[in-house]
Symmetry: C2
Subunit: 313 residues, 2 copies
């Protein structure tokens, strides 16, 4: 006898991960494919179908009761991805319909970070919390703001774009066309930009100078683990920008916790300690020593897959 | 036969206004007294009792079913005013209990701007809206963020302190001890500080130079109405700071409107047009041309009184 499963899909700027989730929140089968490198969105959908169809056949199409998708700039009201600066496709993409039609499964879609927030609330670090902020530090910076137990979607379904809050007025140019967005500093992409700037401007010795090929957030993490001073300073700087900006967000929703996940958050305390320090330094006194800074309790992209799958139930 | 009435109290840094409100949202009797100039909070409560007791007697104590208070840094969960930088009393003031005991009426308390937001949602410009931001521009800057039809109170009841979001990093010193808070620029106090700075730094002719006594937001409004270039530029500057900061807030809650009230908002389009322009200039593209900038439809402090009274029903 087969159990009913929900397909959770986490679309990121780099990778698209999927998982088939049972009603108890266990991922019984998962996988991923690159989001980039296909011929347009049609090519991506065709390649996604090629990967998924055999798995769906194996699990039994009749057991898959629906698909939930988390994607950058995803709109839960329309099922569209709307002008996502870090995705390979521009404009408005009716992704829920495209995926649903291709797989023959009814699909719904929301913002990837909102999906992750729902995953954390149902199965992760935010279990039992009614007010928290979920921050995803991947290629870009995504967020989900939960207030009074409900995700804030906004009047048009597009709320929660913390990555495009201005962290540095007239700062780095962002993919969105504006300047100084938080995600240009605090994301896997952002910390690499900072590192590249520092390597050019500074002369201090660092393992990072000997890195071959394009510098990555993972290389910075490895260097920091090895005690490299510049790599550690990169986390301090990134944590400062995040802490400063999050202090302003705390003044809006007064959350009991801010939960981080995504590639950059895997640095753990090397990043979380500076965030916590600079958050506290910048908080209005009524909020001091109240906000927990936490790492996601769910492995890798599971929060987003679980959250996306939760759209189905 | 008498109808049941709720006492709504709007406590500000300068004045405390009260109104007795019937179940249809009509204020049947109102008045005010200064918040400052009393001997401590005990003196204020004693003087408030002196003003209110005769009115309560006249309306019939048995008809007053309760009191709702809106106050800066008011906490709906505890009934306390918590470290309000613009109030004459420091520390934590159990205001709901003090007022309730003095008047012999059960009292509840919330943030003044949250109260105003509830008033706007029930009786004013936000009627029928589920996602909006209410901004009060008085002595300080208060705010209420409504998402999905509910006021965002945060885990501790202290959410919605937009006035203490950092608008200018390392900017003007704020009463809260930090630097660059929005309310030091965008409030009746803030626009006067800007004017005083400009009068010292600049040499251009302006009616404001001939103002006798301490400059006020009202004097700036009068000068702007008379076509004074510096006064108009003061609204442009204040609107720029507000528009820039609110663009970041839109990215968090994606509201369908931002509603302004309070003394400074009485300047109307002289202030709202610059806010709208700079908001749009700074918005992420997905939010452009969607957010209405509105003035409160409720006269004077009625929104706050009505909202405070709504805590009772």
């Amino acid at each position: 006898m087969k159990e009913p499963l929900a397909l959770g899909i986490d679309m990121g700027g780099t990778n698209t991960a999927y998982g088939f989730v049972n009603s108890r929140g266990h991922i019984v089968r998962k996988g991923s494919l690159p989001t980039t490198g296909h011929t347009g969105v049609e090519g991506f959908i065709a390649d996604f179908k090629k990967v998924l169809d055999p798995v769906i056949k194996e699990l039994g199409r009749e057991n898959i009761i629906g698909a939930g998708i988390g994607a950058p700039n995803g709109n839960i009201y329309t099922g569209e991805i709307v002008f996502a600066p870090n995705m390979p496709w521009k404009g408005i993409i009716p992704m829920a319909k495209l995926v649903g039609d291709a797989l023959g499964i009814k699909a719904t879609l929301t913002n990837d970070a909102n999906a992750a927030g729902i995953g954390e609330m149902m199965y992760g670090a935010a279990k039992g919390m009614k007010d928290f902020i979920l921050v995803t530090l991947g290629t870009g910076l995504g967020s989900g703001f939960v207030a009074n137990g409900h995700m804030i979607y906004g009047h048009d379904g597009l709320a929660g774009e913390l990555g495009h809050v201005i962290a540095v007025r007239d700062g780095r140019k962002c993919n969105c066309g504006r300047y100084g967005c938080l995600e240009r500093y605090a994301s896997a992409t952002g910390i690499v930009i900072t590192a590249e700037e520092w390597l050019e401007q500074r002369t201090d010795t660092t393992i990072l100078r000997t890195h071959t090929g394009k510098l990555t957030a993972k290389a910075i993490q490895d260097a920091a683990h090895a005690g490299d001073a510049m790599a550690l300073a990169l986390y301090e700087y990134t944590g400062k920008i995040l802490g400063q900006t999050l202090a302003d967000m705390v003044a809006i929703t007064s959350p009991q916790a801010i939960i981080f996940f995504g590639g950059l958050a895997n640095a753990g305390d090397m990043l979380l300690h500076p965030i916590k320090k600079h958050l506290e330094d910048n908080l209005l006194n009524i909020y001091k020593n109240k906000v927990r800074i936490m790492q996601s309790a769910l492995p890798d992209a599971d929060a987003a897959i679980l959250g996306a799958s939760a759209l189905v139930w």
